[in-house]
């Protein structure tokens, strides 16, 4: 059963993408470590980390696409799940600092010593163990998504209302994490990491491995997403997006379908955050900012929502653009990003991948139509809201 579930996921394009991701996971670290600096094929370590960051963003965008592109839930709070995963990883990394902190306390992270705390708060227990921290990376965002979704989907809060309250959720979390007495480092967040699993986080090798881990994790999540989307469940999901009440009147429990997808998506976002933090070296409450979550939406929209490749392509393209712009013309980045939002919604509602797909389908259809009789107008095929 599981094998058929996975096999169904491996249609042509997904297999190719996963193969490419795995190749990248091997190739980029190799070019970084094995090829000496100065050689034109050498990839510097900072670039490896930068690309690793893009891959984490791609995973976050994929997670959002699962709920937005396939299920029609526009979450403006996915940055919160990302940040929670990141904080779980950050807490593990803080505990690994041990007595090497500025104050040299073997247990308490520096900021707690600074705040004059005497002992570790209960919610920091266990984070010295990697497996426990990784479990929390999944559980904490998953649990928040479950509780939030359980209430929201059961009372049928949907459309823009849901978007607005997810935004309020991440905003409230941001305010909370800014507080010092929350016990997560307040304003400064968690930083100054030393080691992960005993390897220095600064070392070239560690960074290369973290990059490879991001690429492999993205490949795995892509496989999972593809398996979900291509199952009957995935078809129901699209049904919920296009005609929710029809799905309901067919006897499906829409709230459970949404809840499952929301939780899976939140966990993916958490994983993305956890991989992100050791590569950038810091997690702070700014990650909860509502603007961040909305930016993820634009990556997904640019690449093409409702496609699996779209969010990955969109996240990498937009972020590469951001790196370029903020370096070259910092003044213009917000103009470019704002323009992108408008242009995509007005002229490219299906995103890059969706538009290309539509073009191919249209060509195929016209070819088929010219062979037989005249078919329906494919170009007007658009998902429509129920009722």
């Amino acid at each position: 059963m599981i094998t058929s579930f996975v096999l169904r996921a491996l249609n042509g394009r997904i297999t190719i993408t996963i193969a490419i991701l795995l190749a990248v996971a091997a190739l980029v670290p190799a070019l970084n470590i094995l090829v000496p600096p100065g050689n034109p094929f050498h990839i510097p370590t900072y670039a490896v980390s930068l690309m690793g960051k893009y891959l984490c963003y791609a995973l976050l965008a994929l997670a959002l696409d699962l709920v937005w592109g396939y299920c029609g839930i526009l979450s403006l709070g996915h940055g919160a799940f990302f940040a929670l995963g990141g904080y779980a990883m950050g807490m593990y990394l803080m505990r690994q600092i041990g007595p090497r902190g500025v104050y040299g306390d073997p247990i308490l992270p520096d900021f707690m010593v600074f705040l004059n705390w005497k002992e570790l708060p209960w919610f920091w227990y266990g984070f010295d163990m990697f497996p426990f921290a990784m479990l929390m990376v999944l559980l904490v965002p998953g649990l928040l998504a479950f509780v939030f979704g359980w209430f929201a989907f059961r009372s049928r809060v949907n459309g823009v209302y849901l978007s607005i309250i997810t935004q309020a959720m991440t905003y409230a979390l941001m305010l909370a994490f800014f507080r010092n007495d929350m016990g997560f480092g307040g304003n400064n967040g968690l930083t100054d990491y030393k080691e992960i699993l005993g390897f220095s986080v600064q070392a070239q090798g560690t960074r290369a491995v973290l990059f490879a881990a991001s690429a492999v994790m993205l490949a795995l999540c892509l496989l999972l997403a593809s398996a979900i989307v291509n199952s009957k469940f995935g078809k129901v999901l699209v049904g919920v997006r296009d005609a929710e009440s029809r799905v309901r009147f067919l006897g499906f429990r829409v709230e459970n379908i949404k809840l499952f997808t929301f939780v899976v998506s939140a966990m993916m976002a958490g994983v993305a955050g956890a991989l992100f933090v050791p590569q950038v070296g810091i997690i702070n409450p700014g990650e909860f900012a509502p603007a961040n979550s909305i930016e993820v939406v634009v990556w997904t929209a640019v690449g093409g929502r409702g496609t699996l490749m779209g969010p990955i392509i969109g996240a990498v393209l937009v972020n590469a653009g951001k790196s370029f712009f903020t370096g070259a013309f910092p003044e213009f980045w917000l103009f470019a990003l704002g323009g992108l939002f408008i242009a995509v919604t007005l002229f490219l509602p299906k995103g890059i991948v969706g538009t290309v797909e539509k073009y191919w389908q249209a060509r195929k259809a016209t070819r088929k139509a010219s062979e037989t009789s005249r078919g329906g107008d494919v170009l007007t095929a658009q998902p429509q809201a129920a009722e």
Partner: protein
């Protein structure tokens, strides 16, 4: 207790159902009984409460007062839409509502009466039996030749049929059909009447329709609603000669 044994076994039983929205009485003590295997037509002017009645039966709207029973014992006012659909009540909307970005085949596959939980849908595999069933329905709704096309590309009438096909796949005991021939050509209308009678051989069907010609084609018992309650009930000739019906609905 004797009363219960003497009462005719009903599939759907509405008694004294009232619904009001902000003071406006959409349903006013409505009572209606549908027997197993019955095909019933419901007519009435706009605002008579036809759609609200369907909302109440399918769990979309909770009545303020009144009883709604399915198969004599199941209280529908306590259930939600998904529950009621699983009990065996299918509903066709006024505006054809199909999954436009799925193929005709996928639309029917989704509608098939199979376990609908998250787990079972994730690991569902199309069995030979299910395949045959879908082929069979495709033939019934005359869409076999377009099974791999997106539902969005169907004509209006074909969408109506696809939706009826989806309801068949659901294997309901009771089908509620809201204006199935609105916007159809005469040929399509006639064919739809045939289709509905065919369907009604194996289950109960309630049709809401404005098209009197179509109802005459169906040739079944007619209920006329007005202002949220039943005005008249009987054969089409009986109902259409009722002075109250003429005044309220047919007249003018």
């Amino acid at each position: 207790m004797t009363e219960e044994t003497n009462a005719p076994r009903s599939l759907l039983y509405l008694d004294g159902v009232s619904v009001s929205f902000d003071g406006f009485k959409a349903l006013n003590s409505l009572s209606l009984v549908i027997e197993p295997g019955e095909l019933r037509a419901i007519i009435g002017p706009n605002g008579a409460g036809k759609t609200t009645m369907m909302d109440v039966i399918t769990g979309k709207t909770r009545p303020d007062t009144g009883t709604v029973l399915f198969e004599d014992t199941i209280d529908l006012t306590k259930r939600d839409e998904a529950d009621i659909a699983q009990l065996g009540i299918g509903r066709k909307f006024q505006k054809p509502t199909v999954f436009e970005s799925h193929t005709v085949w996928d639309n029917l596959e989704l509608a098939l009466n199979r376990p609908r939980g998250v787990y079972s849908t994730l690991f569902y595999r199309l069995s030979g039996e299910d395949k045959d069933r879908i082929e069979e329905i495709l033939a019934t709704i005359r869409l076999s030749h377009r099974k791999d096309e997106l539902a969005a590309n169907l004509s209006h009438g074909q969408k109506q049929w696809l939706e009826i096909g989806m309801l068949l796949a659901q294997e309901p005991k009771l089908l509620l059909v809201d204006e199935p021939v609105a916007g159809m050509t005469d040929a399509e209308t006639a064919e739809t009447a045939v289709l509905l009678r065919e369907i009604a051989r194996t289950r109960s069907v309630v049709v809401v329709e404005h098209d009197m010609g179509f109802i005459r084609d169906l040739g079944v018992k007619v209920t006329c609603l007005a202002e949220g309650s039943v005005l008249a009930e009987g054969s089409i000739d009986f109902v259409s000669s009722d002075p109250k019906v003429i005044e309220n609905y047919l007249g003018r």
